[in-house]
């Protein structure tokens, strides 16, 4: 009977079904309305602004009146002397970031997992979240304090033979400072997922391994790591999906003309030409290029993740 009913509903034309649905669930439509309006205004309306990327946008003429120029803005970006530098900086910051900030939270979680004193473990965990609650402005402020001419990091660097003065205004140091401070801020936060994955490993497996004579190290190698392998793989693939998505907020707080060489990434360039120089069309084109590449990489990563996920659960 149920399937018959379903068939009947399916046969009805779309608008009739919609009318019925609205009649039956009008309260739900009403509750959804503010949310729909919100996203429509602040997330979907700006998408129409992307048309500017294909125009020579003039404020007076508006989006509908400005002259269409096809792909000229994109061409300008690809031929610009900055293109390769921006691409290189974006990819390098992502790549080095991944290299350090991906494995370290796993190692941290593994070390915590070996601690037997519950209170010590909890305390270390709580302290490790502290930097996450600090704002980017404060983190960069402290970085400036440590990286100034006689600051802590500069002093340490000088001790090892560095002669370039304040590290914060050196393009050679930018990536290390950026990635190092990110690591400091997010290590504890990023380890949460691994700690919970470790807690979910079946304790009877350890028991069995012990009976077989495996020591702690062997247990880590043959029980713990395989137990969290799927979590690691999925998160790694998702992180790879964000490889072109270096955000601008921290970069524009940290960089300056003396560090543009290594610090300027696509998103910070979008901010500079778009908001500071008010070159709307060009900035929108650069951003669109970045978003599209991001989306392609993200979907590829998700696709792979799904494949891996399915094959790993057997």
């Amino acid at each position: 009977m149920d399937s018959k009913k379903a068939k009947n509903t399916l046969k009805k034309p779309f608008f009739l079904r919609l009318k019925l649905d609205i009649k039956n669930h009008w309260q739900m439509y009403l509750l959804a309305l503010p949310v729909v309006l919100y996203f429509a205004i602040f997330n979907y309306a700006p998408m129409f602004g992307i048309a500017m990327a294909f125009e020579k946008y003039q404020i007076k003429k508006g989006i509908f009146g400005s002259q269409l120029v096809g792909l000229a803005n994109f061409k300008r970006f690809f031929l610009s002397p900055f293109f390769w530098r921006l691409l290189k900086n974006t990819l390098l910051i992502s790549f080095y970031g991944l290299l350090f900030s991906f494995p370290l939270p796993i190692i941290f979680a593994l070390c915590l997992n070996e601690v037997r004193n519950k209170r010590f473990k909890k305390t270390v965990q709580t302290i490790s979240y502290l930097p996450y609650f600090i704002s980017v402005v404060v983190v960069v402020s402290i970085l400036f304090d440590f990286g100034k001419a006689n600051g802590l990091i500069t002093n340490i660097a000088s001790f090892f033979g560095w002669e370039g003065g304040a590290v914060i205004s050196s393009s050679k140091w930018f990536r290390s400072l950026y990635i190092g401070s990110n690591l400091w801020q997010h290590l504890g936060y990023n380890s949460i997922i691994f700690i919970s994955a470790l807690a979910a490993v079946d304790p009877t497996l350890y028991e069995a391994a012990r009976i077989d004579g495996a020591n702690r190290w062997k247990q880590t190698l043959h029980v713990t790591l395989p137990g969290i392998a799927s979590t690691i793989i999925v998160l790694l693939i998702l992180r790879l999906g964000q490889i072109m998505g270096v955000g601008y907020e921290k970069i524009i707080l940290m960089y300056g003309p003396s560090t543009y060489e290594t610090a300027d990434v696509i998103s910070s360039y979008v901010y500079r030409v778009g908001i500071l120089d008010a070159d709307y069309s060009y900035s929108t084109a650069v951003n669109l290029f970045n978003s599209l590449v991001n989306m392609v990489v993200l979907f590829t990563a998700n696709f792979i993740s799904r494949k891996v996920n399915e094959t790993s659960i057997w």
């Binding site: 941290f108 402005v137 002093n155 949460i192 778009g274």
Partner: protein, 294 residues
């Protein structure tokens, strides 16, 4: 418990030392700033490196100076307004969206979910968003810092996941009794969802307390509306403490100037430092739900 081998004991010792060192690294930068803020200003100006303890005689002169400073106090007040208003707005919209998304059998259920999730994957970008906010007449008003960043799809999904675990029978029974949807939401769902509400409030509040970029973007002509983070940026990163304290007068300013940046950083992080040990339980729950779904 089984006995540990010698190797394991040695490892345990090194492991403890390693973790203690990490704790020091996590904590030391904040400690350094805290010590700097109460040190003798002359010694702060002359000393480089880390401050493990206050230099010279302990003084609260830096704090006194910023407490008398109208710019910083004003920014502090602004931040509180923005955090409370934006968190409230975000929470209400978040609850509505999560409730609709967790309800099964709606014809528009799936399109609505896609509509929400798509905002996480793609956006119009910096300049088009800026222009929309500009068109709405929000530039240089408080609304620009309350409305545009208030709702996040990520938080909606976390809450949806939690709402979906509430037994359907309870809701169906109420519906048969003729309860309206808003009544079901406020009388049945919300009372059993206190911890997820705490998670979401925490996520939004931390985000708004720490945000500065929207302020830099949308408040170009109104310094009196600046939140604390933006004022902090000016003082510390753009070294404009002279301009900031210009309205205070006398010798105090000259003497305590090296302490201003440390003291300002401290007053911006103290509320978080006091709050977070108590709320981190909720925070961990939220991150875990988010990472499973995200």
């Amino acid at each position: 418990m089984n006995k540990r081998s010698t190797g394991e004991k040695i490892f345990a010792v090194f492991n403890t030392i390693f973790l203690l060192m990490l704790c020091v690294i996590f904590f030391l930068p904040v400690w350094h700033v805290a010590m700097g803020s109460i040190s003798d200003p002359l010694k702060v100006a002359a000393t480089s490196g880390l401050y493990f303890k206050p230099l010279g005689k302990i003084t609260l002169g830096g704090y006194k100076l910023i407490m008398q400073n109208s710019t910083i106090l004003n920014a502090y007040g602004n931040t509180i307004i923005y955090v409370v208003a934006a968190t409230l707005l975000g929470l209400v919209l978040n609850i509505l969206a999560a409730y609709v998304m967790s309800t099964k059998g709606l014809m528009f259920g799936k399109p609505f979910a896609l509509f929400v999730i798509f905002t996480m994957i793609f956006n119009g970008g910096l300049v088009p968003t800026f222009m929309v906010v500009n068109k709405l007449g929000m530039m240089d008003t408080r609304w620009a810092l309350i409305i545009p960043g208030a709702l996040s799809a990520y938080n909606i999904i976390i809450m949806r996941t939690s709402f979906a675990e509430i037994p359907k029978e309870m809701l169906e029974a109420a519906r048969i009794d003729g309860a309206s949807e808003i009544k079901i939401l406020t009388r049945i769902i919300l009372p059993v969802s206190k911890s997820i509400i705490a998670v979401i409030v925490l996520f939004y509040a931390v985000q708004h307390w720490n945000s500065w970029f929207n302020a830099a973007l949308y408040l170009q002509k109104s310094r009196n509306l600046y939140p604390l983070q933006l004022t902090l940026r000016e003082i510390v990163l753009q070294s404009t403490e002279n301009a900031i304290v210009a309205d205070a007068d006398g010798q105090d300013v000259m003497i305590y100037r090296p302490l201003i940046k440390y003291a300002t950083i401290m007053i911006s992080i103290i509320p978080m430092m006091i709050l977070y040990p108590f709320v981190q339980k909720y925070f961990v729950t939220g991150v875990m739900i988010g990472s499973v779904k995200g």
